[in-house]
């Protein structure tokens, strides 16, 4: 039985830690890799140290989960040590990158490569400098520029993480076509009001919804993009168990990322996923994890 996935780099199983969840401190990343994750994506790292928003930064009311961390991060210059600590687990660490300009993306990606990251993931859901509330991902020309520039400057694989907060994801995906894989999806813009306090809960008011509630949105994007572009896809959004992961793979994903659910089941979710996948493959007579990718498209 073969659980290995090829994403430009080889990953020993298809379960990857999603960006922004327990992946700021190198020791935590290391621990999650040791708990069975095939690879881990770091928190999105920008040019400078950034405090992010004040708490509350999360709103949790199952099935709803909303966060507004506000891209807090130590800045790329301070992140090398964390990657080094994490790499001790001897599994791929994928550096997530965000920037305000093409140049920033490029520079941070290069640093990630120097630090030993196995691949970079471009977080295209970060704010667009010119657009009020708009994201970089909804500007196809900019996306294309960023991806081309980064691809030309580094030798490790480049993944583009797309935003569902757009009217035309196919266009966005096409703009990112030079990437080695597309990562779908980031969080869905949302908010919650506490009716007793009569105030938005998150200090930033708006946040990104993740978890169970967005799985059908993620499945739709993975399926649609796989059908239109037949690119390699990493599925993410609301995966809580092996059935959810298989659903993403059948929709077209080659691997999946797991985020929010970690707060529910702990880091051990990765070991559990691996066990459950093996059982699923035995029960369904699947030798190679690849066989699952895109079967619902046929």
């Amino acid at each position: 039985m073969n659980l290995e996935v090829d994403l430009g780099i080889k990953i020993s199983n298809p379960f990857i830690l999603a960006s922004g969840i327990l992946d700021e401190n190198g020791y935590t990343i290391k621990k999650i890799l040791e708990s069975g994750a095939g690879a881990a994506v770091t928190k999105s790292i920008g040019m400078e140290e950034r405090r992010g928003y004040e708490p509350p930064v999360v709103y949790e009311n199952d099935p709803v989960f909303i966060n507004a961390i506000g891209l807090s991060n130590p800045g790329i210059d301070n992140f090398g040590e964390e990657i080094k600590i994490a790499l001790a687990a001897k599994k791929p660490v994928i550096g997530s990158v965000f920037g305000k300009t093409v140049e920033e993306f490029s520079l941070i990606a290069r640093k990630m490569e120097q630090y030993g990251a196995s691949a970079v993931e471009l977080n295209l859901s970060c704010p667009h400098v010119n657009g009020y509330g708009m994201e970089i991902g909804s500007d196809p020309d900019l996306v294309n520029e960023i991806v081309s520039e980064v691809k030309s400057k580094i030798n490790i694989p480049v993944y583009s993480k797309l935003s569902p907060n757009t009217s035309d994801i196919v266009e966005e995906a096409k703009a990112a076509e030079k990437s080695d894989a597309l990562v779908l999806i980031n969080t869905v813009k949302a908010m919650a009001i506490d009716i007793k306090a009569k105030k938005p809960v998150l200090s930033n008011i708006y946040g990104g919804m993740s978890g169970k509630a967005i799985k059908p949105v993620g499945i739709r994007y993975v399926y649609e993009i796989k059908r239109e572009l037949n690119k390699k896809i990493i599925g993410v959004g609301g995966i809580e168990n092996i059935n959810d992961a298989v659903e993403y793979m059948m929709a077209g994903a080659s691997a999946v990322q797991i985020g929010t659910v970690v707060y529910k089941y702990g880091k051990n979710i990765f070991n559990k996923m691996n066990n459950d996948l093996v059982n699923y493959m035995i029960d369904n007579n699947i030798d190679n994890i690849d066989e699952l990718t895109g079967v619902a498209l046929k």
């Binding site: 969840i21 327990l22 992946d23 700021e24 401190n25 020791y27 935590t28 290391k30 621990k31 999650i32 928190k43 140290e49 950034r50 405090r51 992010g52 004040e54 708490p55 509350p56 930064v57 999360v58 949790e60 966060n67 961390i69 807090s72 991060n73 130590p74 800045g75 301070n78 040590e81 964390e82 506490d194 007793k196 306090a197 105030k199 809960v201 200090s203 929010t260 970690v262 707060y263 702990g266």
Partner: protein
């Protein structure tokens, strides 16, 4: 968010208050809540009393703690939780070591077999001393009790005679206490404080060597802490930058 109505606010000293409120949640010593001040901030607070009314003891540092410390009878407190792994409350002789308001979360553990070590910068930082029958008090400046740190107070006693040692306070103090412990095996529990944003094990801001203080802690056993190279050494600041402690 959960809510409760403040029943009483007791001023302990210049910058420390106890608020009491009814709450039906099952809460154990050492657990904490994330208390929300709408429009301002949300902060972790542990419990200094777990009887019919729950008690929280707040030292004022900034806006959020100030707001909560000044809540009046009838005001609403907003919170999430309780969160975290509690102290394991064992029978036998207990040693409770608290620095400043750190002693607050140990108050629910006090019984007739408890011995308290209370430390503070000055006498003004010493609270809850009247709750202990047997105690040692130390202050950095000697303005109250003996002059010295918590660990100095320990040196005057035979800590190996206690069945369980509980400690809560700044990490640097906890580290010095831990380093002093020999022949204690695993008979010690430490409650840690690291910056917390989410309180539910997702944001990584409170982490120490792969453990989350908010979910795997705040209470860790001596054995657990001994394996942690970050303990008393480095942590991430609010933005995620590694800093020395």
């Amino acid at each position: 968010m959960k809510t409760s109505i403040i029943y009483e606010n007791i001023k302990l000293n210049d910058n420390t208050n106890i608020i009491k409120f009814p709450c039906n949640e099952k809460i154990e010593p050492g657990q904490f809540i994330m208390a929300w001040v709408p429009g301002i901030n949300e902060i972790p607070l542990s419990f200094s009393g777990l009887n019919d009314l729950k008690e929280i003891t707040i030292k004022i540092y900034g806006k959020a703690s100030e707001h909560i410390a000044h809540l009046k009878k009838g005001d609403t407190v907003f919170f999430r939780g309780p969160y975290g792994k509690p102290f394991e409350n064992t029978a036998g002789k207990k040693l409770l070591i608290g620095a400043g308001t750190g002693i607050a979360s140990l108050v629910p553990l006090i019984d007739k077999n408890a011995y308290g070590v209370l430390s503070g910068k000055t006498g003004n930082d010493i609270v809850f001393q009247d709750r202990f029958e047997k105690k040692s008090i130390v202050t950095d400046d000697g303005s109250y009790g003996k002059k010295g740190y918590a660990v100095d107070a320990l040196k005057d006693m035979d800590i190996s005679e206690f069945d369980m040692i509980y400690a809560c306070g700044p990490e640097i103090m906890l580290k010095s206490v831990m380093d002093y412990m020999v022949n204690i095996n695993d008979r010690a529990q430490f409650s840690l404080e690291r910056p917390m944003k989410c309180g539910i094990g997702i944001c990584d801001s409170c982490s120490i060597n792969g453990y989350q203080v908010c979910t795997d802690g705040p209470v860790f056993s001596l054995k657990q802490l001994m394996g942690m190279s970050e303990f008393g050494s480095t942590r991430l600041n609010y933005s995620g930058k590694r800093i020395k402690i």
